[in-house]
Symmetry: C2
Subunit: 200 residues, 2 copies
């Protein structure tokens, strides 16, 4: 590689940066880590290869940054007012919609698949995407226990693993696609089984 | 490809076949689907490339067969006599050991990662590996309900998703390795949370 590198300093062109990060996420979803090159990302973003290398010295670093830059798409339970069960009822269809997105499904499968060869990518995904959501889920479940809509004996961290795991299982392992409506019904059934006092 | 092909007829050499299937699983764990070629599998198995092509026309078909040929490694709950909770106590450390195997972990991650590009491989894995285990789990959970060690209101299929999902989450998503002892303790905590009347 003969491209000049100036390290991860201040971006020369925020718009180019944004296009590069967006192209990286798109290609990650479409093709995965192994079959995506810096060259392809540059082409998709409409910039020169050197523009990419000026900011990121490897595709792993670029992917990690692209994952960090993805935005939160659902409102947190705490941002919606009202009794917890009402808030959950309101958010359930939105969660179902998000999970039905084939991009979310492919990205999750790609991240897990990258684990054996690129553990640092998986741990970036965990740290920047999953751990903050986990922390929010902890607070919501603690509130559910206080509000009496979840049994007081609930093992909060285990219930988070169980719920995320069931969703993961549906998304990346069980064959066939699921519609937003099916996933919403699934989530409701799941919440009831882990102890939420939700109507059927 | 100019190799002669005789289709998936009777194997010429069962020993060569076995070596090929074993090499395929090893390379699948080590390198994944994309970065493994028929040539590498032949070399690892110590056979000529043509020997592989005589039996399997693509690496996807070979991988699918290799997955089908993997043997069941744990005794089913039903094969162990005695009250269900005692059987579970006996099997828990063995389950923990199996899950702590880095090969099992990598294989699962590779299969999930192959999903977006090779859905037929993932569905073979589901059909031949996961669905039979799922059927066994259904019977065990039904028995647990009858024996009164699991609440009668339990949604059996959902509890299977929750439990497998939590394990999946630990194996392929959560960062860091887990020892057999840690995984055994985790499984016990998980069984208790889903409603099994196990001691703590």
């Amino acid at each position: 590689m003969t491209s000049p590198r100036t390290g991860p300093g201040r971006p020369r062109d925020p718009e180019a940066d944004e296009a590069i990060l967006r192209a990286a996420v798109e290609l990650l979803i479409e093709r995965g880590v192994e079959r995506t090159s810096i060259e392809q990302i540059a082409r998709r973003a409409g910039v020169a290869k050197v523009t990419v290398y000026r900011r990121w010295s490897s595709k792993e670093k670029l992917f990690a940054h692209a994952l960090e830059s993805m935005h939160e798409q659902v409102r947190a339970v705490d941002e919606v007012g009202g009794p917890l069960l009402d808030v959950i009822e309101e958010l359930l269809p939105r969660w179902g919609e998000l999970l039905a997105d084939p991009g979310a499904r492919a990205l999750t499968a790609r991240m897990i698949g990258a684990g054996p060869d690129h553990p640092e990518l998986l741990s970036t995904y965990w740290r920047h995407h999953l751990e903050p959501r986990r922390e929010r889920a902890r607070k919501t479940l603690a509130r559910a226990k206080r509000d009496g809509v979840l049994p007081a004996t609930t093992d909060v961290d285990m219930v988070i693993d169980l719920m995320w795991g069931a969703v993961l299982h549906q998304l990346v392992l069980a064959p066939g696609d699921r519609s937003a409506t099916e996933l919403t019904a699934y989530l409701r059934r799941m919440l009831r089984q882990v102890g939420f006092a939700l109507p059927g």
